[in-house]
């Protein structure tokens, strides 16, 4: 069976230790987490966690059930089964030598990035998009020399029905 990527959206009670319960569940049962992202919702007592994991059908079934079993978890939704939007942001500090500057700015244009910091030797870019888009950009920038990157991990939600 294939280990497909799944984006899971969780609503959890905003209590101390809830992230650790979820992280502990994944490590204790040998499931993997590719990224995890948590922040409060409009209701300050509720946190939304977006989690990207990989697994075949039976692993995903267990992940879903085990998450539901946690007392602090209010709702589990595997977005991969629905139509959804997914975004990730990254900051990339890239070496900006004279010969590369124009090329970097072209990429900024194509990928709709922003240049958020400029020094004589480096550009810092802000980019938003799907994980695939970010990875594509990073691959292109690699040859110029990436000094540092920070990625947020995915956040996601279902698309409203038209």
């Amino acid at each position: 069976m294939t280990e497909e990527k799944h984006t899971i959206s969780l609503l959890v009670e905003n209590t101390p230790g809830v992230l650790s319960r979820i992280a502990g569940l994944f490590s204790g049962r040998g499931f993997n987490i590719e990224s995890i992202c948590a922040a409060p919702t409009m209701d300050r007592l509720v946190t939304r966690i977006t989690l990207v994991t990989r697994g075949d059908e039976s692993i995903m079934e267990q992940i879903n059930k085990q998450l539901n079993k946690l007392v602090n978890v209010i709702k589990v939704q595997d977005l991969t089964e629905t139509d959804f939007v997914e975004r990730e942001m990254a900051l990339v500090k890239v070496k900006a030598e004279a010969k590369n500057r124009a090329e970097i700015l072209r990429l900024v244009d194509i990928f709709r990035c922003k240049v958020v910091d400029v020094t004589p030797t480096h550009y810092t870019l802000e980019v938003t998009g799907t994980a695939e888009k970010l990875t594509a950009l990073l691959d292109l920038l690699k040859s110029m020399g990436i000094k540092e990157i920070a990625r947020t991990g995915s956040i996601a939600m279902t698309r409203e029905k038209k």
Binding site: G17, S58, Q62, V71, I74
Partner: protein, 562 residues
């Protein structure tokens, strides 16, 4: 009412009907203990916190209620961990109160501070650190509710010392409702109908009952269901007593040390109905080979149990008692009858297996441990509450004592925690003062919580301990014999106390049998002793438990004799 935190806890214990608490006090727990002593609640002061948790576990099972423990911070809390993990694996409802250093000191590596909530997160059903007196009452109420409901389990509540001292206004609150926790009791009717379809088609059905049947009190429904279906019933270790052990339809235990007929039946059946089980590896053996011809119906209250290890045809999420009652109702409604001819063929086949390979051992000049358990069964008419330690003693108890009633066999099934049996017997005896409670023990395991002899003596608990003394960590020795060329690395425990004198030194009665003809008189005398008695049976040292399925093999690969 303006009450301190400690008083509020006592109020809630009373509201929850708690009559006994097991534990040991300490610096951070003084406040709670001070208030506990002012109530009518009985406190059983144990000698080690692990003993407190196992005792509460035994109490919970014998009484079919929640067991409650109270311990101090730091080492008091860490000592509870094995007990909590054992209760977690076996789904036993407990509420464990651990004291904690004052909130102002948390995180400072204060004296006797330990992050017990962090430590027990993966081995509790849920746990709490109470950070504010305002949260206390709701939290404790929730703890009891979560421990009892759904698939039961241990819940730990960590109470900082200042929380037990601070006052707040208290008024009793109704049962909590949690928006994120809502166990499913009622099975889906469509699933039940689907299951009925399979039941009607089955020609060789087997029922496979686990601890869930006992936890949900579904023995009557199970018995009715099995008789109606004329389906033989196998049990897991945790399921012993769920179905009468003397009934003709009883197959015995399934799995690694299961009976020949139970393993053969499961491997040949065309429909396997698992009720309150979780298909653990000790039961299934090699996964791909388990029940190869069977469609599987799996009833369990915990959705994560279903399809965790094996694929099933019809999953039914729900309480075992309600689900079985519903299936019984459907059978009546649809005037279900078994196909007489195929049923007879199937039951004849099982009778055949039973005759070819019954559980057996050969009696020699030394005492056979199986013989001790058999005699114990006879002399108690099968009416004792049996607890066990872990290892061979546990398996012989499971094989040779027959349980007609639920809640009479108390063992550390999932965790297999040595040192469980004796404190659990103490808890069971507290719950059932008029019952005969016997711990079937190994010489190794009994030493892991032997200090509780003082507890049993102090509270005049007439627990009986039957030691199957082989002077080995026997179960491990058996594996070494079979799979490690008899290299007995670190399993010889002949260097041991004199258990007779040990009993006497605590003020109890000790006796010993060294020859087969002494077994019966020693058992009789021990069982008739009014107070605590240790019966030390020097048994055949290298006796092994059979049948045995090597770990990871199909369950038909049974090693059958010595």
């Amino acid at each position: 009412m303006e009450l301190t935190g400690a008083k509020i806890i006592m109020e809630i214990l009373k509201e929850e009907g708690v009559d006994t608490v097991f534990g040991i006090t300490g610096g951070a727990a003084i406040e709670m203990y001070d208030e506990l002593a002012k109530t009518d609640i009985r406190h059983i002061m144990v000698r080690h916190e692990q003993g407190a948790v196992h005792a509460a576990d035994g109490y919970a099972r014998a009484k079919k209620d929640v067991g409650v423990c109270m311990v101090t911070s730091g080492p008091g809390a860490t000592n509870t961990v094995s007990g909590i993990a054992s209760a977690y694996m076996d789904s036993i409802p407990l509420v464990v109160f651990t004291a904690q250093v004052p909130t102002s000191l948390i995180g400072n590596d204060a004296f006797q501070e330990v992050d017990i909530v962090g430590i027990t997160r993966p081995c509790t059903k849920h746990n709490y650190l109470v950070r504010s007196i305002e949260d206390l009452a709701r939290t404790v109420k929730e703890a009891f509710y979560i421990a009892r409901s759904g698939r039961p389990g241990p819940v730990l509540v960590d109470i900082p010392k200042d929380i037990s001292q601070t006052t707040t206004n208290y008024k009793p609150s109704p049962r909590p409702s949690l928006k994120s926790y809502n166990p499913t009791y009622r099975p889906n009717i469509r699933q039940l109908r689907w299951a009925m379809g399979l039941i009607k088609e089955a020609r060789k059905p087997v029922i496979f009952a686990g601890g869930g049947v006992i936890l949900s009190g579904a023995s009557r429904e199970l018995t009715k269901f099995a008789k109606r279906l004329k389906a033989p019933v196998a049990g897991t270790l945790m399921g012993l007593g769920a179905f009468p052990g003397t009934d003709k339809l009883w197959l015995g235990m399934l799995g690694m040390h299961g009976t020949y007929r139970a393993n053969m039946s499961v491997q040949s059946c065309d429909l396997l109905i698992g009720v309150g089980v979780r298909f653990d590896d000790r039961v299934t053996g090699k996964l791909g080979t388990f029940a190869p011809y069977a469609k599987i119906i799996h009833i369990d209250i915990d959705p994560t149990s279903i399809r965790k290890n094996i694929p099933v045809t019809v999953p039914i999420v729900g309480d075992c008692k309600i689900s079985l009652a519903e299936l019984n109702r459907l059978m009546t409604k649809e005037s279900f009858t078994v196909d007489k001819k195929s049923s007879k063929l199937w039951l004849d086949q099982i009778e055949e297996w039973k005759k070819t390979m019954p559980l057996s051992y050969d009696q020699r000049k030394t005492i056979k441990p199986q013989h001790v358990v058999e005699k114990l069964y006879e002399l108690t008419n099968g009416n004792a509450i049996i607890t066990t330690e872990v290892g061979q003693n546990q398996m012989w108890a499971a094989q040779y004592y027959h349980f007609d009633q639920p809640n009479c066999f108390i063992t550390s099934g999932g965790l297999g925690c040595m040192g469980f049996g004796f404190p659990a017997a103490i808890g069971a005896q507290v719950a059932c003062p008029d019952k005969l409670v016997v711990d079937i023990a190994g010489d190794g395991s009994i030493q892991m919580n032997i200090q509780e002899l003082a507890t049993a003596m102090q509270y005049k608990l007439p627990v009986k301990i039957v030691i199957l003394n082989n002077r080995y960590l026997g179960m491990v020795r058996q594996w070494q014999e079979l799979f490690y060329d008899k290299r007995y690395a670190s399993t010889d425990i002949a260097h041991a106390p004199d258990f007779v004198k040990l009993a006497e030194s605590y003020g109890g009665v000790g006796m010993r049998a060294t020859r087969p003809e002494e077994v019966e008189p020693v058992l009789k005398e021990g069982l008739n002793t009014p107070g605590l008695a240790i019966m030390d049976f020097l048994v055949e040292r290298e006796e092994s438990v059979y049948p045995m399925v090597p770990a990871g093999a199909p369950i038909t690969d049974m090693l059958l004799v010595n």
